[in-house]
Symmetry: C3
Subunit: 338 residues, 3 copies
Amino acid sequence: MEKTLAQLAQHVGGKVKGNAETKITAVATLENATATDISFLSNPKYTNALQTTKAGAVIVGKDTDAPVPLLIAEDPYYALSQIVILLYGHRKHKKIGLSQKASIAKTAKIGKNCDIHDFATICDNAVIGDNTIIYPGGFVGPDVTIGKNCILYPNAVIYDGSRLGDNVIINSNAVIGKDGYGYATHKGKHYKTPQIGIAVIEDDVEIGSNCCIQCGAIENTVIGQGSKLGDLINVGHGAKIGPHCLLVSQIGIAGSTTIGHHCVIAAQAGIVGHIKIGNCVKIGAQAGVINDIPDNQDIFGAPAIDAAKARRAYAMIEDLPEIRKSIRRLEKQRKDEE
Amino acid sequence: MEKTLAQLAQHVGGKVKGNAETKITAVATLENATATDISFLSNPKYTNALQTTKAGAVIVGKDTDAPVPLLIAEDPYYALSQIVILLYGHRKHKKIGLSQKASIAKTAKIGKNCDIHDFATICDNAVIGDNTIIYPGGFVGPDVTIGKNCILYPNAVIYDGSRLGDNVIINSNAVIGKDGYGYATHKGKHYKTPQIGIAVIEDDVEIGSNCCIQCGAIENTVIGQGSKLGDLINVGHGAKIGPHCLLVSQIGIAGSTTIGHHCVIAAQAGIVGHIKIGNCVKIGAQAGVINDIPDNQDIFGAPAIDAAKARRAYAMIEDLPEIRKSIRRLEKQRKDEE
Amino acid sequence: MEKTLAQLAQHVGGKVKGNAETKITAVATLENATATDISFLSNPKYTNALQTTKAGAVIVGKDTDAPVPLLIAEDPYYALSQIVILLYGHRKHKKIGLSQKASIAKTAKIGKNCDIHDFATICDNAVIGDNTIIYPGGFVGPDVTIGKNCILYPNAVIYDGSRLGDNVIINSNAVIGKDGYGYATHKGKHYKTPQIGIAVIEDDVEIGSNCCIQCGAIENTVIGQGSKLGDLINVGHGAKIGPHCLLVSQIGIAGSTTIGHHCVIAAQAGIVGHIKIGNCVKIGAQAGVINDIPDNQDIFGAPAIDAAKARRAYAMIEDLPEIRKSIRRLEKQRKDEE
């Protein structure tokens, strides 16, 4: 597909500076772009590359001097995203209907226009909405409800009773609704407690590969509308993540913790159970969160503290040998005087 | 199912305080319970909720004043577990026998009353005990032995030669017995060393989703009887975890490390290879364990130290800027005097 | 198989000290070896065991006094690896050809001598080289290219367009090429950005179980030739790992970061996005790497610093209560004097 820079600017509601008739067919990085590529500058770290790029045009957030045509957009990363969608589109899914090699229970209800691939399993009383795609090896357990326009990538597993909303994407080898980690220890043995809550994945959620969302021990586990989970994330039984959160990857959220809306949690962070994280909270990579966090806080470190404070404090761990040396010197000086 | 409070108390060996004829049909949290629900108080943090709950009854550990009928049990969490089992039961598994759509090698030996689902694979010389269930996509490699009453959830994979005891549960997308991380580096290249030990999963073990238990390099990897592993845990080649341990989730245990019995390891902890963890050791979340740990220790932090000490010490990292300021002030005062 | 110690020494280019006719049939640890086993000493921690082992022979790095025949090899771990291969061989794979129960698209090109197992899926336009094995549940997406002599273990998933070289091993439940974590946030909602780069896995790479290698956002994600990844590792979109790296397990590498050749990254380390790690860098377990790292550095800690410095500094966190006490005492002494 070929678009002029003017067409792209119109598409994203931006302005052109320079040759509006520049023809664009693809997207590339500033470093590797050629004359028919559009590139973008969202990270100020790369501003210098604007002077040397061979791109046909560059998406920027504000007017600047550069020897290349610019597409000035209020939100350059969002403009880029819209242009990528325009030029490339989302992944195409082959229409295959209901495969004869799938295993679909007679009691399951499958919506219109669904694709159920070979080796997918749809169990008793499962309900699947229109246009939903279940790739090979996908497993939809008994009594599961899945909404419209969902995608289960290969080998994704949905345990019995889970509920998925519309437009949900579950990536390969993710597991939704397996039993929570619930054992009652009695006289040195651990007895499995049935987990009677379910896992609820609301509309517009994407779950990354190899994530594991446990079902609820008593109350449901909930991933709120529009939240996006990266890969290898573990959400414990009864945890509730609010809408529009971003959880990057390898994060652990223990049971019964609640997280507000629009939180951003960076990779490898861990959050203990039974606490309350407010709205719009930012949690840094590898943070260890052990207390309630009010709205709008920005924290990191293990234990996690205010981010500004943490940036200074954790960087000073490396000064500990010097700190102790100073103290010993002071103590010695004092002792020498006595 | 409906039970009176008296019946429940008898079932768990507890005592009733209040109306023993209260009818109970379900379990709910203190906050959300209604008149036919039984709730429980195990975390003292929620004691106040006892005064306001609308539950029909509450399980408690000791007699207390509350405007709600009580079921007093020595071990309230264990009593709760027994009541959940009584009222709800464990997950029901549909009897399907040996599916025609499964792939079962002629040389495999399948016990009585097993369920081998569509798209499950049982390879040559595998032996599967009575009443064991292999869900769709489950893979039982060559020469694998699985005991009685086991469950492999969808897409669980057991590599060749692994041995599973009785009553073992392997959750979806977990992998047992894949090759240990063993390469011999020679002149800048890494050569794969065949891993000749196997993975042994003893009786009554549960392995969470997306765990990976490596086989042994030379000696076997062992998960001891009754131990329970949460999700996304990695156990390295030749590690030996003793009986009745609890490993919460996202834990990494490197090769050849041995862990005693009744240890509790919290989420995201990491344990280096070739060390010895004693019995009844508690390891905190995100701990980094680099040395042998004697019996009965309670440790956390990275590096992990005695927990009481760690609670104080790690919390003081945030004071480092203040600590350095104090030192500089003291140094300046001394310099001014000179 | 039985070999004399002389034959083994010749095989690995080493020397015998003691009875060269000792018959060896197996490999075992120093502790558990018996008269027909060969053992090895690579970790100096176990040197004492050389005096008491019942092994028939022991592989060592240099001549030493011991009451057991020795096989002296320059690189004892590599010699061990060669002997394990000689005595045991690598895993054997049953020849099954193209299973009738697999799902192979007509447009897919399958090389000679491949094994495509039951319930494996090969999608449109996939190209698979000679001698490659796809185990049950393996999914090879549309337009994927896989080289010669590769193994996809059960339930491994390769998303559309990914490219795998020759001799690549993908372990069970690993996922290659799923969408990168790319969302454009606009007015509080997160919009999925199509990820237009692919995942490239070069020759001789092994990927552990439950790893997730994202495809590129714009530029490709690359795992360099001969690199070996353990289990549960996440590689973000557009990250480039150089050749011959060792990544142990549970590591997270964020998007667009580049890593040189021959780096060694220990378990649970995390590396932020958009940085550059040089060649031959060593990164310790649980490290948090947030800055560019030059060649040949050895770092650990979170934040990661020079390893020698880190070993001292991080170990001093436990002294913080004592440090603060000392400061308070000094301050009090000073105050008392005023």
